[in-house]
């Protein structure tokens, strides 16, 4: 102990990092290699290997089979519905998310902390619970069911419920990305603009929006990925009628359950397409993240 204590100041003075420290930094090779093999092996075995296998299964019957299954009219309408639902819910969540983030950061009001907590609620509950909850309120026998029916509005087993379910599961994504950026930016610029006579719309588009630009883009990409991929909550409220209320994820499930080589090929083709989109999102996110950090 005393030896190392005496040596320490010397080490600090030396321009090069002392060998002992270097060794500590790198750790013993046995430990380092063991940890490395466990980590890499686990990640590859759990995620990469299955992903490779699904790719193999998709193209196992040749490219033509894949192209043929893309012609499936149910898949095409599922893709259209999925796109519509995803874009609609991302727009809703973006408007709502930016608004709530500005309110939470810039204003004080009773119930502020509660509001903050409620926004996170959807990520900690099961998507099935989300779906069941929607049915209990908007379903035929739900709280608003009678009123909705007498006014000829159908929510459950129709597109509105699919959008609502998707909005709920992606609810906190934009808010949670925007809030930290707004907090770091502070209100000085906003106040300066205000004292120079800018109105609130001008201040939003000239000051706030450019500040949160990258965080918002990041939140939007996350929401889009989540919205396209939602399955459980949509499964409960949609009814999954092919060509009508079947989203891409429901299509994958229904085709897989059907068995038979054609249906199975369809399931794998759709799953592979969704997987490609997911990987694309990861790449976009990886490109956006540094921009968000340096702003």
């Amino acid at each position: 102990m005393t030896e190392t204590l005496v040596k320490a100041p010397e080490a600090a003075e030396s321009p090069n990092v002392p060998r002992a420290v270097k060794r500590r930094r790198r750790g013993s090779p046995v430990v380092r290699w063991t940890l490395r093999i466990i980590a890499v092996g686990y990640v590859l075995g759990l995620v990469a290997l299955p992903v490779v296998t699904v790719t193999q299964r998709t193209f196992g019957n040749g490219l033509q089979a894949v192209l043929d299954s893309l012609q499936n009219p149910d898949l095409i309408s599922a893709a259209k519905l999925g796109l519509f639902v995803a874009v609609t819910s991302v727009v809703i969540n973006t408007v709502f998310g930016v608004g709530i983030a500005v309110l939470l950061v810039r204003y004080r009001f009773p119930g502020r902390r509660l509001l903050n907590a409620v926004i996170d609620l959807p990520v900690s509950i099961s998507p099935i619970v989300v779906g069941v909850a929607l049915i209990l309120v908007y379903g035929q026998n739900g709280w608003f069911g009678g009123w909705l029916e007498s006014n000829g509005i159908q929510i459950i087993f129709a597109t509105p419920a699919i959008v609502m379910a998707t909005v709920i599961v992606a609810l906190p994504l934009v808010v949670r990305e925007v809030i930290p950026t707004l907090e770091e930016a502070g209100t000085e610029q906003d106040q300066a603009a205000q004292s120079l006579g800018a109105n609130s719309v001008q201040r939003f588009f000239r000051i706030t929006l450019p500040t949160i630009k990258w965080a918002l883009a990041y939140g939007v990409v996350l929401s889009l990925a989540r919205s396209l991929g939602e399955f459980g909550a949509v499964r409960v409220v949609s009814g999954s009628v092919p060509g009508v209320s079947q989203t891409p994820t429901l299509f994958v499930n229904d085709q897989y359950q059907e068995f038979g080589p054609v249906a199975e090929q369809s399931a794998f083709t759709a799953a592979f397409a969704l997987m490609l989109i997911a990987v694309l999102f990861i790449v976009v996110i990886a490109l956006l993240r540094p921009k968000e950090k340096t702003q």
Binding site: V21, R24, I128, V169, P172, P180, F231, M275, A278
Partner: protein, 290 residues
């Protein structure tokens, strides 16, 4: 419910978390103006319609026919079996994630090796992949047509594997930024004072990253408790064996047993809140020690 926001520092929770940022410095000063007041009103109304009211409906419906109706729905033998499996598997998966996730984060931050960036991308795949696709991905490797001849369909191992797959990124992504920011001086000081690798880890590193591990664990537990899409294909829904609570609730609601489904949902909500509050207070204790 404040517990649920703690692990979310700067993240979307369900998706790829960004590194935690510094503790929010409050700049809120303004009183509500008429415009922002109106905005708040609209926002709260919207939240009530899509979150608060539906959640309330679940709790109210489960007690619709008196407390006994709630009790009946959660004490049903099938319900109990699904709850035991779901909560047990979620706890086990969370524990495993806390250990392996920390290990992976450590290797990604402190070790340099070729292909590290690919591993980084692969870790995010479970976040971005739709859950049903995750289910299909797993069943094509560990299903009846497995290239290795390992068929886990209809086994608890399969359920467990699916949960491990979808929860992989949570602990890794919450521990990683803390490790990156960590000051190496203290570790080096400990080493120069003669502390071995394990002692340094236990006394210096672990206390610093403990709150992040717990935050990731909380997210991973909540996710595992409610997971449906990735589990449904590989579990094959064998009653009393591999049926998880989410699948059971879906079955009940499809056979129009709303009270039963609401009962199980209420119990799951309570379990999630209890565990999250517990992990949140642990996290606070750990953060204070730091």
């Amino acid at each position: 419910m404040s517990s649920t926001q703690a692990p979310q520092t700067g993240t979307g929770g369900a998706a790829v978390p960004a590194p935690p940022r510094r503790r929010p410095r409050s700049v809120a000063s303004g009183r509500l103006t008429p415009t922002s007041g109106l905005g708040l009103g609209v926002g709260v109304l919207w939240l009530s319609l899509i979150v608060l009211l539906p959640i309330t409906a679940i709790v109210v419906t489960s007690f619709q026919n008196g407390p006994s109706s709630f009790w009946d729905s959660v004490s049903d033998a099938e319900a109990l079996a699904t709850l035991r499996l779901t909560v047990g598997a979620a706890l086990l998966v969370t524990l495993l994630n806390a250990i392996l996730g920390t290990l992976i984060a450590w290797v990604l931050v402190r070790d340099q090796f070729p292909g590290k960036r690919i591993i980084e991308v692969i870790i995010d795949i479970p976040f971005a992949l739709p859950t049903i696709v995750a289910g299909l991905v797993l069943i094509s490797l560990y299903g009846p047509q497995s290239p290795f001849g390992i068929d886990l369909v209809g086994t608890r191992k399969g359920v467990f594997l699916a949960l491990l797959f979808v929860t992989l990124p949570f602990v890794v992504r919450s521990v990683q930024p803390v490790l990156i920011d960590m000051d190496r001086d203290v570790e080096e000081a400990a080493a120069s004072l003669g502390a071995g690798g394990f002692t340094t880890f236990r006394r210096i590193i672990l206390p610093t990253i403990a709150p992040a591990i717990l935050a990731g664990a909380a997210l991973s537990f909540a996710r595992a408790l409610g997971e449906f899409g990735s589990v449904i294909l590989i579990s094959a829904n064998l009653i009393g064996k591999t049926e998880v609570s989410s699948a059971y609730m879906l079955k009940l609601i499809e056979s129009d047993d709303t009270v039963g489904a609401a009962g199980v949902a209420t119990l799951l909500l309570v379990v999630a809140i209890v565990i999250l509050v517990l992990l949140d207070s642990l996290q606070r204790v750990a953060a204070r020690r730091d």
